[in-house]
Amino acid sequence: MSESLERSASVGELVLSLRGISKNFGAVSALTDIDFDVHAGEVVALVGDNGAGKSTLVKILAGVHQPSSGTINFRGQPVTLPDPRAALTLGIATVFQDLALCENLDVVANIFLGNELSPLRLDEVAMEMRAWTLLNELSARIPSVREAVASLSGGQRQTVAIARALLLEPKLILLDEPTAALGVAQTAEVLNLIDRVRARGLGVVMISHNMEDVRAVADRIVVLRLGRNNGVFEPDASNQDLVSAITGASNNAVSRRAERLRAERDHSGSAQAGEQRP
């Protein structure tokens, strides 16, 4: 327990590196020749349109699917991920978008589900203490760990799911649309949480459709389009660049609006030129 605050890897170390990953479902290539890197203490956002292959990529990393070709290097070693257990034992934890918690069990039981301490005589005191330690490290605002998860808000549930993922001390954590179902305040809470997970020195991969959330926490934005790498962006890249990378078109609502704004500005004679404000 005393190591729980220790950095699980020195910041900057290459945790995960994918080279030439392809995945075919029959005749359909879901992923083609994907290269993807995650360093320790870094949040990498994975964005792309529906069907771009984000979920397939995350499922390959979680051990749900196996790649058709390509290599996965985890902390410098080539690895294979034949099933979810293998990914967990290596130190890759996944927080799924939904269906991840049992509403009828309390917070402690959910965090330890499948990893209970002393299986034949559950050690409730030790589990409760460890649960509080984890939640406090995340500065989580959970009123009581002995309440059923059903009584928690969406943000609190996401917190419990993330605490659950951290229990096994992973090196890499995958978040599949962590803010999709949340309100404004709860989204902010989860984004703070992601910041704290990064501060613990973990590599974070986050799938999201929400560009604002992505800009708020990501260190790099990796765009997938039709199963291929379509550029890596800094978080301060313009919305227009991102959207055209995602959609593959330079003529769309966002670019047209930017054009219009620029035209208006030029027309009004203001000297402000160049990039529009994000």
Partner: protein
């Protein structure tokens, strides 16, 4: 250890740091927390206790013999057989499934014991073991159909109800019933054997002692871990109430024959199952699978194995209940396990507070529920009412129990409790 540093600066317990949560303290607080729980639909064993009080009051006013010590001892004998079956039903209900064939399995198990032991001359222990193994096998078959073919347990066990009943009729053949020899250990166990007084009084003191010891241990460990501690006074009060209550009941029952060993076996099984369901990883997994199957799977729980254990245990307990019923009646007949056995077992589990929707329940619901069901049966028999009325009333009680379960579930959902 940052944890220690935090606790040194903050005098609050680790789980009391959040100011937004009201924590009830003291006896008044315990009562308020209880009322809050009930209002939000977390009824626990409240309906069954209310039901028992009503039923006992009504029957006693109609016929005072009902609460006589000897009638209650008989009641305990009768409870044990179907009660063991209900314990199995609790297992399948916990994972949100059902077994409708427990009556047939119990009947077939009693027929098996009769045929193998009396007709074929097997040793009685071996015949019983064979019947229990057969029960577990049937349950495993249901689990196989459920896990591999996705067959709803409702349908597979309905098919099993008929098929196993057919097997029971087949092995009993033309004679239709086999009498088990009076004076044999099995029949004595089912009809006569009661605990000596000192044994029953000692056993009645054990739950309180166990509560006290484990309560104090938990208290010390929680304090050492800087978690909030429950009040010791409350614990001692509960222990005293339970011990005195149990000793009084035992003393009253000892005025006539005393506590049946068969009932002792039943309660022992209930306590063992309660431990398994609440204090082991297996029990946690059962609850998780009943609450959210997909989440349990993603947490790395072997969901299929959990279903297998639930179905196999249920049929095993059904077979055991059948053997006990044969011992109780000193016969294995075509009627064994038919009629209302099935529904009584399911009703007992539901009335006792195990949800039909999975993920909620306790082994004690089998014990409490079967006492309700048998009280009704015994009271109506004492009033000399025909079985037609008995069926109608038991049916109504089951309907009420399920209505209470459904309403409580809806209320829990709207109050944010699972």
């Amino acid at each position: 250890m940052t944890n220690l540093k935090q606790s040194a600066s903050a005098p609050l317990a680790l789980d009391r740091a959040d100011a937004r949560v009201r924590h009830e303290a003291g006896i008044g607080g315990a009562v308020r927390a209880f009322l809050d729980r009930v209002r939000s639909g977390d009824l626990g064993s409240l309906p069954v206790i209310v039901g028992l009080v009503v039923i006992w009051t009504v029957f006693t006013s109609l016929n005072p013999v009902f609460v006589s010590s000897s009638n209650l001892v008989n009641l305990l004998f009768d409870c044990s057989t179907v009660g063991v079956i209900a314990l199995g039903i609790v297992c399948v209900l916990m994972v949100g499934e059902i077994d409708l064939s427990v009556g047939s399995i119990s009947g077939f198990a009693s027929a098996m014991v009769g045929t193998l032991w009396v007709n074929q001359g097997w040793p009685v222990a071996l015949a019983i073991l064979a019947a229990l193994a057969f029960g577990a096998l049937i349950g495993s078959l249901y689990a196989l159909l459920f896990n591999r073919l996705g067959m709803p347990s409702f349908v597979s066990t309905l098919a099993g109800l008929l098929a196993v009943l057919g097997m029971q009729l087949y092995i009993l053949g033309s004679t239709g019933s086999i009498n088990l020899p009076y004076g044999s250990a099995l029949v004595d166990f089912g009809q006569l054997m009661v605990m000596p007084k000192w044994v029953s009084h000692t056993l009645a003191a054990i739950p309180g002692l166990a509560m006290l010891v484990s309560g104090l241990r938990t208290f010390a460990r929680r304090r050492a871990a800087n978690l909030s501690t429950p009040s010791v006074a409350g614990l001692i009060l509960r222990v005293a109430a339970i011990t005195i209550g149990l000793e009084l009941i035992v003393a009253y029952l000892n005025q006539s024959r005393g506590i049946p060993w068969m009932f002792g076996l039943f309660v022992g099984l209930v306590v063992a199952m309660n431990y398994a369901l609440t204090r082991t990883k297996w029990g946690r997994s059962m609850t998780a699978v009943g609450g959210n199957r997909e989440a349990a799977r993603r947490a790395g729980i072997k969901v299929r194995a959990i279903y297998l254990s639930a179905f196999a245990l249920c049929s095993f307990f059904a077979a055991l209940g059948g053997v006990l019923a044969a011992a109780r009646l000193a016969s294995a007949s075509q009627q064994a396990g038919t009629g209302d056995v099935n529904l009584n077992a399911i009703a007992a589990a539901v009335i006792g507070g195990t949800s039909l929707f999975g993920g909620r329940g306790s082994a004690y619901s089998a014990l409490l529920g079967i006492i309700v069901i048998q009280s009704i049966a015994s009271g109506l028999t004492l009033l000399d009412l025909s079985s037609s009325l008995r069926y109608m009333i038991t049916g109504a009680v089951l309907a009420i129990a399920v209505i209470v379960d459904s309403l409580a579930r809806r209320s829990r959902a709207s109050h944010g409790r699972a």
